[in-house]
Symmetry: none
Subunit: 215 residues, 2 copies
DNA sequence: ATTTATTCAGAACATAAGTGCTAATTACTC
DNA sequence: GAGTAATTAGCACTTATGTTCTGAATAAAT
C-alpha cells in the first residue's frame, strides 16, 4: 500500500472536517462527492476505504453518515479542563519536613488545569511539587508534579501512595503493602530496600494517580 | 405550549447525547425509537419537533441523522487545550525497532489534549508512548507519555533528546552533548555509562519537553 | 360529559444514501 | 512497451431513513 495520501484523500479529509465543523454531523458519500468534485460515489467509497485502512477515520457499514474522523475535535476524549490545587512540596529521602500542621488544607500554593483524562474523572485530586532528587527510586524527578487522590479508607496493597511516616514527619512515595498491622513501603525501584513501619506510624496522604514532568 | 419537558423528551435528549458520545454521529429517528423504546417513528418525529421548537436541538430536514444538539460538547470551543498527536511507541535498551520509514508522518496512533502550560505555547509538540522498562535510567516508566518538540537544528548541549541511533535503528532518551563530531548520549541517571556515537550516526527525533505518567 | 389539545400507533411512501458490479483509465514496474 | 496495480467512471441495486397520513388514545379544559 502506498504510504502517503493522495491529494484527493487529503481533500476528502479536509472536507469531512469542515463539514463536521459546520454541521456537527458527518457528510454522506454524496456530500463528499460534490464537495470534492469527484465524479462517482464509488471513487469516494474507494478512497474512504483507504483512509480507514490507514486509521485516519472509522466507518460504520451500512450506516448513513457513519464516518468518524479519528482525530477530530468531537472525538477528543476529554475536552474538559479540571483545575486542581497544588498543596505544597513533597520530599523524601532527604527529609524535608512538611509545614507545621500535618493536614494539607490551606496550604495551597498554586493550581493547574489538567485535562480530565489525567484525573480519570475522580474528585479529590490534588498535586504536590517534588523538591529534591531523593525520589528517583520512584521514577520521580526534582520539580515533578505528583498527582494524588486523597483517600479516606486504606489503599489497596500495591498502590503507590504518598505516605507520611509520623514519628519522622517525613513523606515518601512508595508502593503500599499491609500485613498484620505492619506496613511495608516498597520503592518502585525494586533493587532498593523496602521500609517496614507499624501501621499506626503511617498516614497515607494520598494515592498516586499521575506524575507530570515539564522540562 | 407546555413549558416542561415530558419524561419521554428528556429520555430522547439523553439518548441523543449518549449516542453522540459513543458514535460521534447523531442517531436516526429509528435509533432513538429503539433506544427509548418508543412505539413509532412518528412519535419520535413528533417529539423531536417539540424539542426543536424549544431550541434544544436543530434538525436539518430530509437529512439522515440531521440532528444537532444545542449545548453539546462538540460545539464548545476550548482554547486552553492543545491537541497533540501521539506518534507511536518508543523504546530503548530493549531495542524495539521503529516502523520501516524513519519519518513519523502517518504513524499517528492517538492524540491527547493537554493544557498549554505543558507545551509552553510551542508548536511541533508530539507525544510518544513508552514501551518497556528500559528507560528507567531516564526516570521514564513503562506506559509514560513522553512529550517531544520536533527540532530542525541541533539541540543544545545538555538537552534531553529522543535520539535515533541509525545503524541500530534504536531510539533512546538521553542527554545530548556534541563535541568534535562525536555525540555523547548521557543517561539521566549519571551512574549509568554514556554512549558515544558519531554525529552522522545520530538523528535527533525530538527534544524532550515533558513526561506524563497516568496510573 | 363534551370539547379541545396533546400525544401515540401503525403503516405506507419517497428519497437519501451505502454497496457492488464492470469497464475504462491512469500510474508503476520490469 | 508489456504487464500489473492503482484509481476512476458510471450505473444499478438495496437498504436506511425521513416524511406523512389517518385514526386512536389520552389528558386538559369548559
Amino acid at each position: 500500500m502506498k504510504k502517503e495520501l493522495s491529494t484527493k484523500q487529503k481533500n476528502i479529509l479536509d472536507f469531512i472536517e469542515n463539514f463536521l465543523n459546520e454541521h456537527h454531523y458527518p457528510p454522506t458519500i454524496r456530500d463528499i462527492q460534490q464537495g470534492c468534485e469527484i465524479s462517482s460515489t464509488s471513487v469516494v467509497d474507494y478512497n474512504l476505504r483507504i483512509l480507514k485502512q490507514k486509521g485516519l477515520l472509522n466507518r460504520d457499514a451500512e450506516v448513513s453518515r457513519g464516518i468518524e474522523l479519528v482525530n477530530h475535535d468531537s472525538i477528543k476524549t476529554d475536552t474538559e479542563l479540571i483545575e486542581i490545587p497544588i498543596m505544597g512540596n513533597i520530599a523524601a529521602g532527604a527529609p524535608i519536613h512538611l509545614p507545621e500542621s500535618n493536614n494539607w488544607a490551606n496550604n495551597q500554593i498554586d493550581s493547574v488545569s489538567l485535562p480530565s483524562f489525567l484525573t480519570k474523572g475522580k474528585e479529590n485530586i490534588f498535586g504536590v511539587k517534588v523538591k529534591g532528587e531523593s525520589m528517583i527510586d520512584a521514577l520521580v524527578a526534582d520539580g515533578d508534579l505528583v498527582l494524588l487522590e486523597s483517600i479516606t479508607n486504606k489503599p489497596n496493597n500495591g498502590d503507590m501512595v504518598a505516605a507520611l511516616i509520623k514519628d519522622q514527619n517525613e513523606v515518601t512515595l512508595k508502593h503500599f503493602f499491609i500485613k498484620n498491622g505492619k506496613v511495608t513501603l516498597q520503592p518502585a525501584n525494586s533493587s532498593m530496600k523496602p521500609i517496614q513501619v507499624d501501621a499506626e506510624n503511617v498516614q497515607v496522604q494520598g494515592r498516586v494517580v499521575g506524575v507530570i514532568r515539564s522540562i
